[in-house]
């Protein structure tokens, strides 16, 4: 029966693989369902790190989570005013 199903049933992929893919996405979404407070403190810490290396326009920072069907991305738009002298040599 099984091999008949595989012969005539189209796709070779079992529903287990589909479950795995869907589960992965669901969990990414669940886990990134983060509170505004958390996003704020994330933003503050990113700013702290960045200002060690460059002057940034803290008023115009945009940080958000971008979700689509397949994945979630942390998208940040941070205008740089000036790279600090010496930050390159520091590496």
């Amino acid at each position: 029966m099984d091999f008949l199903k595989k012969l005539f049933g189209g796709g070779t992929e079992g529903s287990g693989q589909k479950a795995k893919d869907r589960l992965r996405i669901v969990l990414i979404h669940d886990r990134t369902d983060i509170s505004p407070q958390l996003l704020d403190s994330l933003r503050d810490e990113i700013v702290q790190v960045l200002t060690k290396y460059m002057d940034i326009d803290t008023q115009k920072i945009e940080i958000d989570l971008d979700r689509d069907e397949k994945a979630v991305a942390l998208v940040a738009n941070i205008p740089v005013l000036r790279i600090k002298r010496g930050s390159i040599e520091m590496q």
């Binding site: 992929e13 287990g16 479950a19 589960l23």
Partner: protein, 271 residues
């Protein structure tokens, strides 16, 4: 003695918390430990029936908390296995009849007399779960190989972590090796990949679970079945012994065709 307090949780309902609690408790007692299984599912008690002790319940732990009776009066001693006890839940009360502080105090009172306190938690993430989890140091999270159960397990694991429970270990219940082999069920490693917590055991789908419930006798007491074996292994791992995962495939009841298929595909299927 100072008991280890372990809560059995899941998030999603009906995945096997009570079955797991009863069987692990009986197994630990068989290994010579003094164990109390506490039914923390107030209002929907089931552990007494699964353990086959329903006729011996007189008081419950709410009575203890409200000082209607002494702790020793509420404990039901299992006569089949030395060292095994049940502390029943109240059936006619609601989850609000207890608060986390009272659960902690109850566990503290039990601790000196036992090696293990197993708390059978209700489904959900509300009061009932929080009460049960409050008293525990360690947690067992039960899931089945299905998206909704794993998803809810993930949620519960996050909550248990933030409550500082450790270790938190996973039981995968009702796995069907045949379906995994055919690629039609989430495999053990798929689940571990996404949840990234330690596994303490995999329990196969097994008719003996129903038979054991009908008889009111936890499988680990007598039955020699795949699920009983899996729960005995889990109990041993709780005791710190290094027991290899059982080869569920060899238990799989498959037709001739697949046996031939397996024969020809040789080692490839071994994991």
């Amino acid at each position: 003695m100072a008991a280890r307090v372990i809560v059995t949780t899941s998030g999603k309902g009906g995945v096997g918390k009570t079955t797991s609690t009863a069987n692990i408790a009986a197994a630990l007692a068989k290994f010579g430990k003094k164990v109390v299984a506490v039914d923390a599912d107030v209002g929907l008690r089931n552990l007494d029936v699964i353990m086959g002790l329903e006729n011996r319940v007189v008081y419950n732990f709410i009575d203890v908390i409200e000082k209607t009776c002494k702790l020793a009066q509420a404990l039901v001693k299992d006569k089949r296995v030395p060292g095994l006890y049940l502390l029943p839940a109240a059936q006619t009360r609601t989850k609000d009849a207890v608060n986390p502080e009272q659960m902690v105090a109850l566990c503290e009172e039990l601790k000196p007399d036992f090696d293990f306190i197993l708390l059978d938690c209700p489904a959900g993430i509300e009061g009932g779960f929080k009460n049960a989890a409050a008293g525990a140091d360690e947690a067992l999270v039960v899931t089945t190989p299905e998206i909704p159960a794993v998803r809810d397990a993930d949620r519960i694991i996050g909550m248990l972590e933030s409550m500082g429970k450790s270790p938190i270990r996973l039981i995968i219940n009702r796995l069907r090796p045949n379906m995994v082999q055919d690629g039609d069920m989430l495999a053990k490693d798929d689940i571990l990949d996404v949840l990234s917590i330690d596994l303490i055991g995999v329990v196969p789908e097994d008719e003996s679970v129903i038979r054991a419930t009908n008889n009111g006798e936890p499988m680990t007491m007598t039955l020699d079945s795949p699920a009983a074996h899996a729960y005995l292994n889990i109990a041993e791992r709780l005791l710190g012994r290094d027991v290899p995962l059982m080869d569920l495939e060899s238990y799989a009841t498959r037709g001739l065709v697949s046996k031939i298929k397996k024969f020809f595909s040789g080692k490839r299927n071994k994991r």
